[in-house]
Structure formats: structure tokens, C-alpha cells
Symmetry: C2
Subunit: 347 residues, 2 copies
């Protein structure tokens, strides 16, 4: 299956260089993919031309307009239509591309994608999902910040989307789903979390819901999909990033603390580099804006070409896994969930 | 100043052994402290007698009743009065001890302490606080699970209590206070968080409020006190624990992966052990139930004697720092905070 990915070539700290270099890395792993770069043609043309194989599968669509990293979503909606981000999203809407990747402003990307692409039928709110490493393998976590307040219905939708992702894109036969909470007992947590748990136990879908997990269990691989509201998810993910960074700093300082320790590092460095690669945030780059009528991937703004290529890979995997088609199939049964199909809290 | 600490000798996985051994370790560091052990005298007497110096400063108060780790707070309130936990709390209420330490059930401890000791004047809800390591030094975080839902008023109270702790117990001249949020901009996050920020900017107390911090900034030492609701705080703290455990597992596996890596470990192990000691959760053991009219410390249920001795140390520091007296002084000015003194959401 040949695919086209629309790239916001001007989003992120290292744009447009890392976007072009990242696309070139992704090209090697995904030879069936071609690219449309949206952005400043004068800057993009020589960068793309420098990679002859990439140039052969790429087109450039010029725009001067860029949504800045600090732009408020509301303002991006007003003035962002003709921006590199807006045009890349429109390419998916018009069918010129099957997915879009941007390392730009998350809030603007979500707002513009929601307006242009709309949510899939039956879904009240899209969410941001990502893969995280665990002791055992990996886990899908959502929402990570799109929805600061979530009700029961939102959490149930996130659970189903996470399950579909895990099954179709990651290929797990029977992924386990859990809700993040402050304890494992039924009575624990917010009302929305408790109600979502009751619904997930009852609904007539083949979902392997295992109940509540606490913050530490996420990283020991207690579930394949961990569902939470966007506030908690954002704090948890950033906490995880912060701790990895702190631990790495402590480790580096430990090795530097004596000549003997440095010698030890010299002998162990191959094994340590392997471990570092496993925890490399670039390998987990590519947050998925799930629930939209189109594949939209947010790359970390500070990533490099290697990280950006991973985000492109996530888009390719979701398109090839027919993620949105599977989601739509699941949500055709939405009426039988035992929760109201239309929710007052959603907008 | 000579002090007496009441110990719930039957709470936690390793009780009563680790409680007695932990008290003996704490005795060395705090020679001005004596202990009252509450629990099964037949088991406690020989354990205490085995440490002659500890025996000289200890008394045992017998009870057969133990609040189990699974007990619901409501049930603990009904049948826990005569338990080792209940009697130890009562000792503080009656003035027989200046503080209580328990490694038992957190929910039961909070519920029983709240009923017996009441909150300090002006405080609507107590919170659970703890110290966490950062890149730079340490940080106080609260709430960690006592209050699943928090309004503006609760968060402001937590901020003031955290500030007082940092200043009086840790001795920081001008501790910085931040609210945990999903971004640094004013418009980010829940309404309660945004309102609390506005109040903390305005109140007439010498508080060094620096605004919002994200989950990763906690661990880079962005603030001396980080305030959040109990749901988010609990998830963040457990996430941190989970990541440290995962990282340690990866590190151990890396060292075991080849003879060369093992040799490297051999050379570096002194430095690595120092680093491990810095991250040792036992060093941060002793969560403070702040806002109560008495010093109440919750030890981790799975800790050992070393960890328990740290929890005792936290109690001693808070008593000697006159934490509750300072809190009361601050809250005498509560009327000038610009927030209602009585809150409908509090109970």
C-alpha cells in the first residue's frame, strides 16, 4: 500500500532541518511512503534536494505562515488556516495525504485538527495517546493533556480507543486495559473513574478490563493500556520524564566521582548504552491524536531527525493498521455501552 | 527538650520487629526521645528487652486490637478506638506523647487522627506531605492522597503548610512554592488550580509563590514546595517510585548482560552505591499528616527498621521545629487571605 504523509515542515525547535532529515530516515524504513512538505519553499527546496532519494518522493507546498510555539489555540484557529500546520492538516481532510505529522504547538494542532477533521462518529472528544516503556515491554497511555476534565463517558471512549490501538497497531491479541487511580479498591478515586470502571466491566465489547492500577504499576507493565484524564496523564508522563532525567544525572555524576568509577563505566559502557537506547525518549516520540477523522501525530518539539522519523513511523503504523476504520467499527456499537451516546459535558 | 513518641507497634508488614528495631536506631540519633509502644505486649516485651538502652527509655501499652492493612477507614473508626493505632493517636491527644508514628493503613490513620485530634484552627482539611529528592536537593510535595478533590481554598492551605514546613523544619530562609499544573501559562489547568494561583499571588503573607510547574520540573528542583490535589499527587509520587524501580531494573540487567559489564560494575560499585543511597526510598520515609492538631507520621508499610527510624526522625524534626505552633500563627491571619474562611466543600 503506497501512502502519503503530510509534514508540517516549520513546526518544532529544529524545523525545517530535522523534519527533512527525519523524513529521509523514515523513507528507508517505509519505502512505500511519499511526503508533502508544507512550509517555506526557499528553505525547504535545498534541504530536500540534498537527499536525492527523498526528493524523488517528495513535493513542497509553499506557505509563509507559521503557527508559533507560544500561539494560543484560539488564535491559531483564527490565523492558522494557511499555515504550514493548517495546510498539512487540510491535506488529510482533502485526501491528498493519509496522515499528518507536526512538531509544532500541541494545543494549536489539536484545535485545528478537531475543527478541520472533526471527531469520528460516536466519539465526543479526541485524546492524546503515547507509548511508554515498561519493565516488560511497552504500554499505551491516554489522555495526556487534551482533556483537563474528563467524565465517565470520555474515559470509556479512551479505553476503547487504546484497546483498538493496542490490538490493531501493536498486534496484541488481547490487550489488558486499566484505569489509573490512587488505589485498586472499587471505592477509590474520583466518581468519574469509578463510574467508568463500572461501565467498562459491563459493556458488551470484548474488552479485557482489569480494573484500577496505581502510578507505579504502569511502569511494571501491569496493563497494556492505561487510561486517565488529561491533567493526571500529563503530570504522570512529565513526572516520568523528569525522574529519568534526574536518575541519569545522578548516574553520570556517580561515574564522574572517581577514577575507579570512570574505569568501571569504560567497561560497562556498551551495556549501558543499550539500556539508554531502551529508555531513549526519541524511540517513544510521536503522540497520537486519537478519535479524529484522520491520522494526526504530534512529534516532540525538541526532538531531532531520529526522533521525528519515529513520529512518522507511528503515523505509518496507524494508517497501515487501519486504526480509524477499526475505531469506527467499535463505535458503531456505541448504543449498547450503557452510557448516554451524547454527553452534556462534551463540546 | 525531651520528647515522647507514641508508636503503633503493630502497623505495617514487618511489625512489630521493624518498629522496635527502628526505634532503637532512632534512639541513637535522637537521644532526647523516649517511646511508648502500643501493641501485643507478649510479642513486644522480649523485642524491646533485647535492646537494653531502648528498654530504658520505653514503655509498652498492651492491646490485642490491630487495624488491618485492608480495613476501610469507616470501619477503623468504629472498631479501632482500642487498637494499637487508635491508642497511639490518643496518647498525642492526651499529651502523653508529642507525636505518633504508624506504618499501618493510611486511610485509617488519617480518619482516626482527624477524629481524635481535629484539624488546626483555620484549616479545613489536613493533607499528606512528603519529601522527595531533586537534582539539586529536596522538595516537599503535598497533597499525596488525603483529598481526592481539592478546591482553591484547600490548595492555598496546603501551600501555606508546605511553606511553613520548609521554613521551620528544613530551615530554608525563603522557600519557593509552586502549584503542579499541565503548563506554566496562567490559563492552564483546572479552575481550582488557577484560582489558587491568583489567591497565592495576592495574599498578604510573605510567601514566595513562583506560579505553576509541570511534572518534570518537580525533579529538577524548580520549587522547594510543590502543591497539588491528592489524586494527582498520589499518581505523581507513585509514578516516580515506579520509574526509579524500572530504571534500577534496567541498570541491573545491563550490568548482568556481559562479563565486561559486570567487571565495570565491580569498579564502579562504590560510586553507584552512593547514588543508590541518595535515591533510597527509606531515606524519604515518613509522610506527614499536616494540618492536624498533633504530629502524625505515616511510615511506608513495607519499610524496614532503617526506614522506620527515618519516619521517627521526621516526627522529632516537626516537634522540635514547632511546626504546628508556626502553622497556627500563620493561620491566625487567615481572614486576610481574601478567600472565605469557611468552605462549603470541606467537611
Amino acid at each position: 500500500m503506497s501512502l502519503t504523509i503530510a509534514l508540517d515542515a516549520m513546526g518544532g525547535d529544529g524545523a525545517p532541518e530535522i523534519v527533512v532529515d527525519g523524513a529521509d530516515l523514515a523513507r528507508v524504513r517505509h519505502p512505500n511512503v511519499s511526503f508533502i512538505f508544507y512550509g517555506d519553499e526557499a528553505r525547504l527546496a535545498p534541504l530536500v534536494a540534498a537527499h536525492s532519494k527523498l526528493a524523488a518522493i517528495s513535493t513542497i507546498q509553499h506557505t509563509d505562515i507559521v503557527v508559533s510555539g507560544e500561539e494560543k489555540p484560539s488564535r491559531a484557529l483564527r490565523k492558522g488556516r494557511g499555515s504550514s500546520m493548517g495546510l498539512a492538516i487540510d491535506a488529510v481532510k482533502k485526501g491528498d495525504a493519509q496522515g499528518v505529522v507536526s512538531a509544532g504547538n500541541t494545543g494549536a494542532l489539536m484545535a485545528m485538527a478537531k475543527l478541520a477533521l472533526r471527531t469520528l462518529p460516536g466519539i465526543s472528544r479526541p485524546a492524546i495517546a503515547t507509548m511508554v516503556p515498561t519493565d516488560k515491554s511497552e504500554c499505551v497511555m491516554l489522555d495526556l493533556g487534551a482533556n483537563i476534565q474528563c467524565d465517565e463517558r470520555n474515559l470509556v471512549e479512551f479505553a476503547i480507543m487504546g484497546e483498538v490501538f493496542s490490538r490493531t497497531v501493536l498486534g496484541l491479541a488481547k490487550p489488558t486495559i486499566a484505569l489509573l487511580n490512587v488505589g485498586e479498591e472499587d471505592m477509590k478515586g474520583h466518581e468519574s473513574v469509578r463510574q467508568a470502571a463500572a461501565t467498562l466491566r459491563d459493556i458488551d465489547l470484548p474488552i479485557e478490563f482489569i480494573g484500577f492500577v496505581e502510578g507505579d504499576a504502569v511502569w511494571s507493565g501491569a496493563a497494556d493500556v492505561v487510561v486517565t484524564d488529561g491533567f493526571t496523564g500529563n503530570v504522570a508522563l512529565k513526572t516520568a520524564e523528569g525522574i529519568v532525567k534526574m536518575y541519569s544525572t545522578f548516574l553520570r555524576n556517580a561515574y564522574k566521582s572517581s577514577p575507579l568509577a570512570m574505569l568501571g563505566y569504560f567497561f560497562s559502557r556498551r551495556a549501558l548504552n543499550k539500556m539508554r537506547a531502551k529508555l531513549d525518549p526519541r524511540r517513544y516520540n510521536g503522540a497520537m491524536l486519537v478519535g479524529l477523522n484522520g491520522i494526526v501525530i504530534k512529534s516532540h518539539g525538541g526532538t531531532d531527525a531520529f526522533g521525528f522519523s519515529h513520529a512518522v513511523g507511528v503515523a505509518v503504523d496507524m494508517i497501515e493498521g487501519e486504526f480509524n476504520e477499526r475505531i469506527s467499527e467499535e463505535f458503531d456499537h456505541i448504543g449498547s455501552f450503557g452510557v448516554p451516546t451524547q454527553n452534556v459535558a462534551s463540546s
